[in-house]
Symmetry: C2
Amino acid sequence: MSDVPTKLQPIFDQLDKNTDANIAKLATAISYKAVSADESLRQELFKKADYIQSLLENLNCTDIEQFALGDEKPGLPLPPVILARLGTSPTKKTVVVYAHMDVQPASIEDGWDTEPFELHHDKERGLLIGRGSTDDTGPLLAWLNMLEAHQQLGLELPVNLIFCFESMEESGSIGLEKFIQEQAQTSGYFYKYASQIDAVAISDNYWLGTTTPALTYGLRGCNYYQIKVDGPKADLHSGVFGGCIAEPMIDLVQLLSSLVSSQGEILIPGVMEMVAPVTEDEKEIYKSINYSVDEFNESSNSKTCLFDNKEEILMHRWRMPSLSVHGIENAFSGQGAKTVIPANSTGKFSIRTVPHIDSAKLDALVIEHVNKQFAKLNSPNKMVCELIHDGAYWYSDPRNASFTAASKATELVWGMKPDLTREGGSIPITLTFEQELKSSVVLIPCGRGNDGAHSINEKIDLENYVKGGKLLGSYLYYLAESDK
Amino acid sequence: MSDVPTKLQPIFDQLDKNTDANIAKLATAISYKAVSADESLRQELFKKADYIQSLLENLNCTDIEQFALGDEKPGLPLPPVILARLGTSPTKKTVVVYAHMDVQPASIEDGWDTEPFELHHDKERGLLIGRGSTDDTGPLLAWLNMLEAHQQLGLELPVNLIFCFESMEESGSIGLEKFIQEQAQTSGYFYKYASQIDAVAISDNYWLGTTTPALTYGLRGCNYYQIKVDGPKADLHSGVFGGCIAEPMIDLVQLLSSLVSSQGEILIPGVMEMVAPVTEDEKEIYKSINYSVDEFNESSNSKTCLFDNKEEILMHRWRMPSLSVHGIENAFSGQGAKTVIPANSTGKFSIRTVPHIDSAKLDALVIEHVNKQFAKLNSPNKMVCELIHDGAYWYSDPRNASFTAASKATELVWGMKPDLTREGGSIPITLTFEQELKSSVVLIPCGRGNDGAHSINEKIDLENYVKGGKLLGSYLYYLAESDK
């Protein structure tokens, strides 16, 4: 029988005692308008990084460094990445903790009930409301709250930690992949301070629903493409030219319509053949997960679901590829009734990728298909289909040591087994950590499925904020006692 | 043998004498930034109307009135329509002359070689360059120049004229149709001052090419539609929802792709069946017209023509319907790679109509077709296809008295028979005049096909400006001697 629960009890008690102070800390942290997408707020990201650094200093972290990643564009510096570490014992495991300090844009005009950058504690509902409360400032502080409790009790952590806090996650983590690669080299931070990284822990996603905690072992990748059709040199008048000229928009809708059916079936030959077959074992996973069509409809706020059962929804979100058509650039997109023939039009679509879709082979299949379809159109226009960016899927073993530790931690703190989930979206840096640090990654969400991470009235339940610190701490203890 | 040429010779001479003064008049007229699409320039339209009114007063026109058409929107009055008349003889025919005072937007930043609202006389090339020079301020002044020559010579016109000069033609002639209808009533201007309108003459289009004058006897109509597909209540993340939700953009591109082929063939059942068959006689018209594929390619500035011979180009521009896809509202239309599933998307398309497409039947066919296609998609989204606005085609008899007079005038002034042309575009007010004033309409263009009416460096050849006055005057003489 593990003595972890006994060791943790005083830490849990201390975290409970610190609740008001930790709410105050969250209030300070989210008061920075650290919106990475808004250039005019860039200085707020630097200020927030300084604030987080001051917390790390107070926790006696060492080798705290803010790294500059260069300029996003001339005159606009990228905000810093903070690396820091706590514990230098050669006999302990080393865990890298990733979180991000930046947030999504928010303004009360968007429909928030309270000022997004002023933490609102709704005591009746037990909610801490504000931009960043759950994505990802709250979980970042949950790590630090847990350390502070140790410090107050004079306790040491059972593992060494290396923190990696970035500031551009909501804007594509610009520069981070290259940075991690560099820091994994002989001269880099990770290599210098750790002979081996035993695990990477990320708390930057959410439970599937609102009642069952989750651990996440898979993410879909995303390959983003565009089809550009070039026709006449300038926009033309449809009265004068309509019927005589090959219209780029007409070609483009023909091409886009050949990609995917209204039922979501990808029509590009060869793509579905690459998808890993669904096993009987796997089907059991979906059956056991606490989820429903109604919950899906609630999250989409509509009844436009393509499936009538939770198993198919979960499979199509997590382990099947999907193709979305995002929009068209350079066609008429305003209100009203303009009679223009756009000179060129660019369709944008992306494919969410899953095991075992080979990214390069997918690109080749997509481009070959679109080229073939275009040839069929016999159009005098010019067409180019190309990849804009890609990010690989990630898939881990939910029975490895790190997941097992996280699962035990969840049972201890929440009193129930976590759902083993995957995410439809992408966190490309997950795979970078796994590959560069040669370490497994675990995603341990703190918040619930209805937190509204990128929406208005973003919240974290006070219970999740407090238990988040306990959960992440417990994970470290269980990981420490697992076999190396 | 007509004595018209003899009668006209002194007038032609006088117009030649007045050339410099008439260029100066054009310079003044185009100096007003009378852009009807630019609300901030609305006062310029009023000033230009006052200037044109002053010219009419100097020509001893009577019953000159500026009519207010109400507000375009609260606080933004519509610019005036000027009605005026010259000649009150009950024994003469009465001709309504329509022109417009407003112009397209223009700014040197668009790429003009000279300031668009300062007339530039390029003496080497014989061009008068400036916004409105050919569309439609130059032709409007050509009418007045011709009257002035009569005045200077102490001559009377062989017909009575009623002028109708509007100020919103480049912005959909807002309010004009209703105004014409009102003025054709018992209490209205046209009814009061003319027992019968014998002809309406409009000089607001262009030769087909650059060498042969033209008279225009047909215009295509335009029915503009939208297809709105409504899905979830708000935009969704394609990572989280892609593959599970019915995406409005996917439905929309399927629907748009069912409307028209890349070869320009309308795929909506029943539409082509309404089109008047091409007769052998008619084919001869296209053969005789001085035009080429190269000229078409030059005008589109590309090689994206669907046809390899002038006959098919002319038929598809003039007498065949066409369907253009203009764009999509509410999808992602910016630069970059946004992974959004748009909550709803609205596709815009229009059909250019020709004899004998019944507008209401067309609407029914379009909507029935789109509804059927959508039903096939089996999508849980909501879809509505609807007409946004329509404007009927116009088609006249190019052998009637008014066209015959205009044809004789062209031969006299230009020394060659005019091409009998149609236009692919629409001038909806043409049909309104014909129906409300129970009179035939003739389109007598002054300018050439390369004038760049809605483009940069708009020009009218000095030769066309001067001969324009002679042409329009001659038309009135030949019309006067034709049988009532």
